[in-house]
Assembly symmetry: none
DNA sequence: GGATCTATCTATAAATC
DNA sequence: TGATTTATAGATAGATC
């Protein structure tokens, strides 16, 4: 990362030189983040708070950072239900519980992670940071997942239908089922 | 930021190339952060949770993130349901809802995290945070979940088969299904 | 799909303004 | 000091294994 001379990677004792270096590299870093974001479609933003500036340097812009936040609020909603049957309530509750656990775990982990990061940064004299996040991927994954589920449901339904036809019964899938003990 | 050819700064559509690019640049970015920190005595840390890697890239220490992954993998299993029967459509809807919840929760968590980080940075003298959604973890969770669903379907199928064999075609008629209001 | 290898492009240390 | 210039170290796109 030098020119004219190969600089050894160590604290720059000269105040002026250090500050100059910081300015240049901060700029370079922000550029890199911006490039990564563009090239790989990673929704990112960065904040660099150095000991030399009075206010933090951000990318893409103060507003851009807000825009990142805004994106979170505008995510697609899923549709809704039609008919349902008794036994299923139990299952749905199960599912709900499982998801709840996942939810809580995720939240907890995230909180811990952030605290860790915060602690690290606050324990030093200065600090600098960068924040990246990706929404698109989450959305995509969920969509993929839903597709899979629907596909499986469909297959299952077909299979059931065939099965019942073979046995001469009215389609079980269309009919009631046994009670379930939760 | 190229070699061999001057790449235009735009989204890389080729999946492989984009991934490769991400890997390289992520590495470069982390190195830059590390250098800035050393040269200018800036207390910095970085976490990159990218959609392409199985584990997050961190600097300076991998401990923080590894802990998160460890926690994720030791997530509690949901209990096995016994017998259950369902109306396939209903189940699929419930799943959709559950997923929606997860989505919303995630969104909310993210929002909170980001706000927290932002607030800290804007109000304090120091602050720094970097955060990227980890797709792998979400995928893992979803896979676990899908497995459960699949297993339940299988059980249901088995149960139905037995039922039809034992009771014949008319059996289902005496076990009406209750409608349920979601 | 990742690791390695260049040829090139980019970032930047030092000089200069 | 900060901006500009310049020569060189470093990053990396594309190729290859």
């Amino acid at each position: 990362m030098m020119a004219r001379k190969k600089v050894k990677l160590a604290y720059i004792t000269n105040d002026g030189a250090r500050k100059a270096c910081f300015r240049k590299r901060k700029k370079g870093l922000l550029k890199k983040v911006s490039e990564l974001s563009t090239l790989c479609d990673v929704n990112a933003c960065a904040i660099i708070y150095g000991p030399y500036d009075t206010e933090p340097e951000v990318w893409p812009s103060p507003d851009g950072v807000q825009r990142v936040l805004a994106q979170f609020k505008s995510m697609p909603e899923t549709e809704q239900s039609k008919k349902m049957f008794d036994q299923v309530t139990y299952l749905s509750q199960r599912i709900g519980k499982a998801q709840e656990q996942v939810k809580n775990q995720t939240k907890e982990n995230r909180e811990k992670d952030v605290k860790h990061v915060m602690f690290q940064s606050l324990s030093g004299k200065s600090l600098q940071g960068l924040m990246l996040m990706d929404l698109q991927d989450l959305t995509w994954t969920i969509d993929q997942y839903l597709e899979q589920v629907h596909s499986r449901m469909k297959n299952f339904k077909e299979a059931l239908k065939n099965e019942n036809q073979e046995q001469g019964a009215t389609a079980a899938a269309d009919r009631p089922m046994d009670n379930v003990t939760p």
